[in-house]
Amino acid sequence: MGRKAQKNDSLPGSLDMLILRTLSRRGLHGYGIVQFIQQSSDNELLVEEGSLYPALQRLELNGWIEGVWGVTSNNRRARIYKITAAGRKQLAVETRKYAKLTLAIARVMGAE
């Protein structure tokens, strides 16, 4: 049983990991997260913007992020998401997994 069931089911867990990574720097609201991911990947990673919200809910449900009311740079009321301690642990786990995965893929690709 355990946490197996709560593993996110989006493409190799990347969206969850990206959100957690983004939020591990600072708290942001939904649009801010999208912007950050796109800008810091030089617009290589195009998040399907609508999918962000189910992902946020899932992360919140798992207790990895927390939403609180705050204000955007334009002075509009918005829900600002922050990473929790459990979220940081999860980020570490996923980062490790991701590193392993990319390494494995790189090995396969590198093998002649």
Binding site: M1, R3, G30, Y31, E49, Y53, L61, T72, N74, R79
Partner: protein, 910 residues
């Protein structure tokens, strides 16, 4: 996670709005950005939407995350629970069965309580109905004489505190006064139960319970007819046409349906009535105990009961009519009482004729009418509470037992749990999963328990109704009861699941991982649970012991007359139109015809059966004298010829009453031995005289009978009896007794034939064997003794299973230790003793806890006991011995197993 989810659920609507707001903001910001890049506002908004995707779909998806996960996890837990249950078939079956028994018994008893104590009358707006009662100080003065405005009654008083009078019957004058225009009641209606009358429909007679009701009765209750119309004010006045309303059941049994009954003419005690309507099927009158077959307008009792009834209306000191009122909207019961009590006081003061009577006038009190009159409630509420307490204890034992089994299993599953916890499962998640399992067990138990309860309700109805003709208590498993059962199951599941779940997920998982066969520190919880089970079993054993002893005492009561091979039945010729003096001849002829039925060795008649003589009317109740001496404490029994022979009461001197004693001949009496001894000493009383003062008649004593117990087993007991001849003191209603060869009930058909030949208008009622009639008076004791013994055995069995389980587990855990001991030379006997000693210690601790509880709790059932003290030492000792023997028995198998341990194997395993 569950908590977060619950929190989300509680603010579901708000969270949904928040989500919309977030998405809106997202779109707005995106649009603003695109606009800054040079798009027109319209295009920017459209582009933002395009890139976002389907807004409402995403909204839906986001919300679903909180919902579906919960159910999918639950489904996972349930699936897993099923797998675990199937993997442990023996355990699951045992647990489900235990719970089914416990929950089923509770459901059955609760459905009775619901039927008797909680259900409302099936009428419109029962909450606004109030019953009128009154209470007054004790009616007797210092010299034990009755001084009270009540000079006569038809109905019952029920005991108030310290001899006070409490009742719901009033004089007709009070009904008229209270019914006058008043600001608190929209209607006030009266009624009284006329008991059984002879109802003849198309020439076929039956005995019908008759309710006399005032014209406002049906309107006040808000009942609508199943057919025709109900009795109204115009029907209830002197001289109105004689009309009747019949019950739904009667219309079906006698007319083949409500519509056919309308306009038919019927005879009530030979007086013609016309059926104008049929009551609805669910309506049983205002007293759940009565359930009338026939409703007649109040004033028609003058037609049926004659001049005696006419007097009742004028006599302000004769109490008979019962009343209910319907409160006007917005009026509280307290306001109504404040308004009506002075009015009643004023009226009742005018009926008092002496200062003594004036000193203790009745005072009006109002009670809620929603549940109807309390006669069933008074009769059954205490027994039901006692039974409910017992089945509650059984369920507690069952829960403790399952908790114990789960604890043992939890120990076995420790490594599984440890693996799960170390793999990162949250403790709460695991506890929740374990609780799901136990609630599943409990739900299965509850479902099975409902089946068990259906059987239980039927059995209990049979036990409680035992021989009563029109038993009206109908318990059923309705939604209310089923809801309570479901709640009970879930609570049980949580109760017995919580402790083991918490214990098995203790964070100290490492030792369990290292050591496969959990031999951690000795755990106390199983022992506590076993002690609790033993303590509760002891309570139930004591209760069973007390009731069985009571039954034993009742069975050993010396009756003084025959119990077996006697058939009893009653006839009421007066209600079919017979009158004196012809009626006496009619009864006497019938007796001869019964005696000539083949197989009947003798037949007799009396004013009632001996058992019910205590509360049946008809016999002489006035003062009796022998010479100048007044006889104290003797009862009169009107008997026909051969009474003593039929009842096998020995004749000690002289003769019994026989055919020589005719209406015109010298009045005779036969007295019982105790009476003879008390008032004649050693003289022969035969030939002496006894005077019935109120009748102004002298009776010649012609014989002396052996003593007999007159009246019911419990409160009867006067063995001073005067038998008088039925021909000389003719009763209206008689009970025949036939002494038969073989089963008395096989003669019922012949009896019916004889009666039909003589007069088909007379129904044969109260057909019963003497043995059954005697048992009926102790039916409650019988029921209690049977149920309690059953409960106690069940509890003891469960407790023994628990004890056995715990001991087996202990032995398994101590294999190493026992092996060492045996290797060091311990004898088998010593090992057995080592295990049994612990069993005995547990049992003794349970006993020690339970004994004081038993002593104080048994006082609560004192009123159910007969010649048995609640702290009866023999019962307590017996219960203790039974308990200890059962404990030793349960502990012996594990002990024996311990003594068979092979030391070498045990040590190697260690």
């Amino acid at each position: 996670m569950l908590i977060r989810r619950l929190r989300y659920w509680t603010e579901k609507a708000r969270r949904s709005e928040v989500l919309s707001e977030e998405m809106e903001l997202h779109l707005a910001e995106k649009a603003a950005e695109l606009q800054a890049d040079g798009m027109t506002p319209e295009r920017a908004r459209a582009e933002a939407r395009r890139r976002f995707g389907n807004v409402s779909l995403k909204h839906e998806e986001s919300r679903e995350i909180w919902m579906t996960r919960f159910w999918s996890e639950l489904a996972q837990d349930v699936r897993y629970g099923f797998r675990t249950m199937i993997a442990n078939k023996a355990f699951s079956t045992l647990a489900v069965l235990l719970l089914a028994l416990g929950i089923g018994a509770n459901t059955a008893i609760y459905s009775f309580m619901e039927a008797i104590l909680l259900r409302s009358l099936p009428v419109a707006d029962p909450e606004s109905l109030v019953v009128l009662n009154w209470h007054s100080p004790p009616p007797f003065n210092a010299s034990k004489q009755w001084v009270h405005v009540v000079h006569g009654i038809q109905g019952i008083f029920w005991p108030g505190g310290k001899g006070a009078l409490v009742t719901g019957i009033f004089p007709y004058g009070a009904f008229e006064t209270l019914g006058e225009e008043n600001p608190v009641f929209s209607t006030l209606f009266g009624y009284f139960n006329g008991q059984n009358h002879n109802l003849a429909i198309r020439g076929q007679a039956m005995s019908a319970n008759t309710e006399y009701v005032t014209g406002e009765y049906f309107r006040g209750l808000g009942v609508s007819p199943a057919a025709g119309r109900l009795i109204g004010s115009e029907d209830d006045r002197p001289g109105a046409a004689a009309v009747a309303v019949i019950s739904f059941a009667t219309s079906q049994n006698r007319f083949g349906g409500p519509p056919n009954a309308i306009g038919q003419s019927i005879l009530v005690d030979n007086v013609p009535f016309t059926v104008i309507g049929v009551a609805p099927p669910e309506f049983f009158g205002v007293d759940p105990a009565a359930s009338p077959d026939l409703y007649l307008p109040l004033h028609t009792n003058v037609l049926v009961d004659g001049a005696r009834a006419a007097r009742m209306y004028r006599d302000g000191n004769f109490y008979w009519i019962e009343m209910m009122g319907r409160l006007r909207p917005g009026v509280s019961m307290a306001q109504a009482q404040a308004a009506l009590a002075p009015r009643f006081h004023q009226w009742v003061a005018t009926t008092a004729s002496t200062d003594g009577e004036r000193a203790k006038l009745p005072a009006l009190i109002l009670n809620p009418g929603a549940e109807g009159l309390g006669s069933l409630r008074r009769q059954y509420s205490k027994p039901l509470y006692v039974l409910l307490a017992m089945v509650g204890l059984i369920l507690a034992v069952a829960c403790a037992n399952i908790a114990n089994l789960l604890l043992a299993r939890a120990a076995a599953r420790r490594s599984e749990m440890a693996v799960r916890l170390s793999l990162g499962a949250g403790r709460f998640r695991v506890v929740r999963q374990l609780l799901t399992e136990s609630v599943m067990l409990a739900s299965l138990g509850g479902a099975l328990g409902i089946l068990f309860a259906m059987w239980g309700v039927r059995t209990l109805t049979l036990l409680l109704s035992r021989g009563q003709e029109n038993f009206t208590l109908h318990a059923e498993l309705n939604w209310n009861v089923l809801g309570v059962t479901a709640a009970l199951s879930v609570v049980c599941g949580l109760l017995f699941g919580l402790a083991p779940a918490i214990q098995s997920t203790r964070p100290d998982v490492m030792p369990a991982l290292k050591n496969g066969r959990g031999s951690g520190p000795r755990r106390r919880a199983p022992h506590v649970l076993v002690v609790a089970q033993i303590a509760i079993s002891f309570l139930l054993l004591v209760a069973a012991g007390l009731f069985v002893r009571t039954l034993d005492k009742l069975h050993s009561v010396q009756l003084g007359y025959a119990r077996e091979n006697i058939l009893l039945f009653s006839l009421n010729a007066r209600q079919a139109g017979h009158r004196q003096p012809e009626m006496t001849t009619f009864y006497a002829d019938l007796r001869k015809r019964f005696e000539s039925i083949p197989g009947v060795s003798s037949a007799t008649l009396s004013q009632s059966s001996i058992i019910s003589a205590g509360h049946a009317g008809g016999a002489y109740r006035g003062a009796m004298k022998i010479g100048a001496v007044t006889i104290q404490g003797a009862s009169v029994m009107v008997a026909g010829p051969r009474f003593l022979t039929t009842m096998q009461i020995p004749i000690l001197a002289g003769r019994e009453i026989d055919d020589r004693d005719q209406t015109g001949s010298t009045p005779v009496a036969v007295i019982s031995e105790r009476l003879a001894r008390t008032y004649f000493g050693n003289e022969n009383p035969v030939g002496r005289r006894i005077t019935f003062v109120d009748d102004n008649r002298d009776l010649e004593i012609v014989g002396v009978s052996a003593n007999l117990r007159y009246g019911s087993l419990k409160d009867g007991g006067s063995s001073m009896t005067v038998f008088t001849a039925a021909s000389q003191f003719p009763p209206d209603r008689v009970t025949y007794a036939l002494r038969t060869a073989g089963d008395p009930l096989s003669y019922v058909r012949s009896v019916h034939e004889v009666v039909r030949e003589a007069d088909s208008r007379i129904p044969v009622t109260n057909v019963i064997t003497q043995a059954a009639e005697i048992d009926r008076t102790i039916s409650r004791e019988l029921t209690f003794a049977k149920l309690c013994t059953g409960f106690a055995v069940l509890a003891l069995l469960i407790a023994c299973v628990g004890l056995y389980g715990t001991m087996s587990y202990n032995v398994t855990r101590q294999i190493g230790e026992i092996g060492v001991r045996m290797a060091l030379g311990a004898q088998r006997g010593a090992v057995i003793w080592m295990v049994l000693r612990r069993v005995l210690i547990l049992a003794a601790v349970g006993l020690a806890i339970s004994l004081p509880v038993a002593l104080s709790a048994s006082r609560l059932v004192k009123s159910f006991l007969f010649e048995t003290q609640p702290n009866d030492p023999r019962t307590l000792a017996l219960a203790g011995v039974v308990l200890l023997s059962a404990a030793v028995l349960a502990g012996y198998a594990p002990a024996r197993r311990a003594s068979r341990i092979d030391p070498v194997a045990a040590l190697r395993q260690e």
